[in-house]
Symmetry: C2
Subunit: 344 residues, 2 copies
């Protein structure tokens, strides 16, 4: 397949009448090599077209310089921003990323972990799938002490670090905003409560209601997979109620957007009849009419910081104490929740 003879450090050594070890050292800027020799090594390496053999180097060092990344799905603006941040940091530090999508399935996630383990990733960054219930599938990694960083959809684990936003506060802020727009019966379109992001947003919603003396009503909480279909379904279900709600806080923009489309189709006015807010600041939030109130997430930073954290762990240059990093978010208010009569 590949063409025959690659240039090795031995070729360079022979050429210069020095030993392979010196070449090896020179190539990686080891302090115990004279400047002069180093220069010669570098120049003959270039002249001969030398290219380091990653296999051999990896074999010796027992490191692949490869980091696994598992995301629920790739087709989201947020995720791709995160990845681009990770890539930047990882590449700068000499690491490659192996990226895979769990497609929101715990089973696929588990099989990806195995694959990544088999291909000997040095570390793993993971945002859990929608229905992952435990971390058993990560045990093979724990056993080998392969460091893991959770981001966004995290899970507490004594040995792992995680990078998140404060979903509780964000959920609180969204709900409070809706309340200030005059909403009294606010539906929460939530995701699975086993995922921190959705549970925290839900708790924030509950707390905001409580703090504003609005009684909580379990019937107003609709849990789904937050897909477009679920958004539509939820909208239909709501329209079947005798007593329509006057606000909806959806845990992602996708479901909020499809709910809006469906509600409008039935003649419901947004935000006059029902004020709506989403979560994520997906580009689609600026296409839907009316434009969607949402929460902005620092995706790129989340990626950069996750990668930094993991790489530090790989270099053991990190306090064991560090457990969780929280980034800041921001509420973006748009027409879908702004009531004309409102003076706040």
């Amino acid at each position: 397949m590949k063409s025959g003879k690659d240039v090795t450090i031995y070729d360079i050594a022979r050429e210069l009448n020095i030993s392979a070890s010196t070449v090896s050292r020179g190539l990686k800027n080891h302090p115990h090599v004279r400047k002069e020799v180093k220069k010669k090594i570098l120049s003959t390496a270039r002249r001969l077209g030398y290219q380091k053999n990653k296999f051999a180097s990896d074999l010796r060092q027992k490191r692949t310089h490869t980091i696994g990344v598992i995301v629920p799905r790739l087709d989201s603006y947020f995720v791709s921003t995160v990845i681009s941040g990770m890539e930047k940091v990882a590449n700068k530090a000499g690491y490659n990323l192996i990226i895979s999508q769990s497609q929101e399935s715990a089973q696929k996630e588990s099989s990806i972990v195995t694959t990544m383990f088999n291909s000997q990733v040095d570390g793993l960054m993971i945002s859990l799938s929608y229905n992952t219930r435990n971390l058993d599938h990560l045990n093979i990694l724990f056993r080998k002490k392969i460091p893991i960083v959770f981001f966004d959809r995290v899970c507490d684990h004594p040995k792992c670090k995680s990078v998140v936003i404060n979903n509780y506060r964000a959920g609180y802020e969204v709900t409070e905003h809706l309340i200030k727009q005059g909403c009294k019966r606010i539906v929460h379109l939530g995701g699975s409560l086993i995922r921190n992001v959705y549970n925290d947003r839900y708790q924030g919603y509950r707390q905001a209601l409580a703090d504003h003396n609005i009684p909580h009503d379990d019937k107003l909480v609709i849990i789904s997979d937050l897909s477009n279909q679920s958004g539509r379904d939820a909208a239909r279900r709501i329209m079947g109620w005798k007593n329509l709600p006057d606000g909806i806080f959806a845990a992602n923009d996708n479901s909020a957007v499809s709910a809006i489309c469906e509600l409008k189709r039935s003649g419901i006015k947004i935000p006059e009849d029902i004020a709506i807010a989403g979560f994520n600041n997906d580009p689609v939030s600026r296409v839907v009419e009316p434009n969607l109130t949402t929460v902005h997430y620092p995706g790129r930073e989340m990626g950069e910081i996750s990668a930094d954290t993991l790489i530090n762990a790989l270099n053991q240059s990190q306090s064991e104490i560090l457990n969780s990093i929280v980034l800041s978010h921001s509420l973006i208010i748009r027409e879908s929740s702004r009531r004309k009569s409102n003076h706040v």
Copy 2:
């Protein structure tokens, strides 16, 4: 970092009083090992928790079983579908994917190619960045005979295969559809004509006009990077004309959608005043109002077939003749171009 002693084939060999070579053969189902022995090897391997050392194996075989994938960007429904198809096929064949986004920059693309070359990918699948002008950056791969498969945004090269849809026909069909809706002055919002996908769509547009005896007008062709911003800009520019067009064919959904938003903001009625069609069938095409007429792309299949093609090339089990694979697309007609008065 990693815990000390891994189980090797030597451990298994010792345990069974056979040689490491036999173990190696047994593990990979070599025909020259007795069934009985093979079974024993497998079972002790499992018992001891053996896990093949990829470095050593790669070093011997001079293969990483890793395939590089370069895409312009990850945050698109289409791209993520393609990747998921690639992953499925690649993993089944025992390959890992290293995925990277060029961010539409030729320079970034070039540096990614270098990185991937350095990490010794066995092959590469690439969809070219917006402004890649030549294939020089791929030369290091050509020199080492590392097989390359282009997909979607391709480039003719005698040594490479490519997987595409018939963008010319699709462009023709979209334009013809607009003409049949009564459009006579159709703007084309195109991408860089150095990229096959955009050039072909443009040529299809030209041909459809010609076939329906509509004179071509260069002023109606607006070339841009097809970003949201460009869509808005184009819309504004169009509205400055004395003579408004009655149709727009945009080369992607993104720019079509932002153009629609901008046009509507100025009170222009879609499709009555201007009928609009996009390209890609991005989910946003079903959110914008009116829903966008577009062309559907078989993303997953494109990914699967690209991976298949590359893997066949890696196994040399492929005719050298095969050069290009064309998948079928379909025109999806929605409200943004459907004129009520139309009876077709």
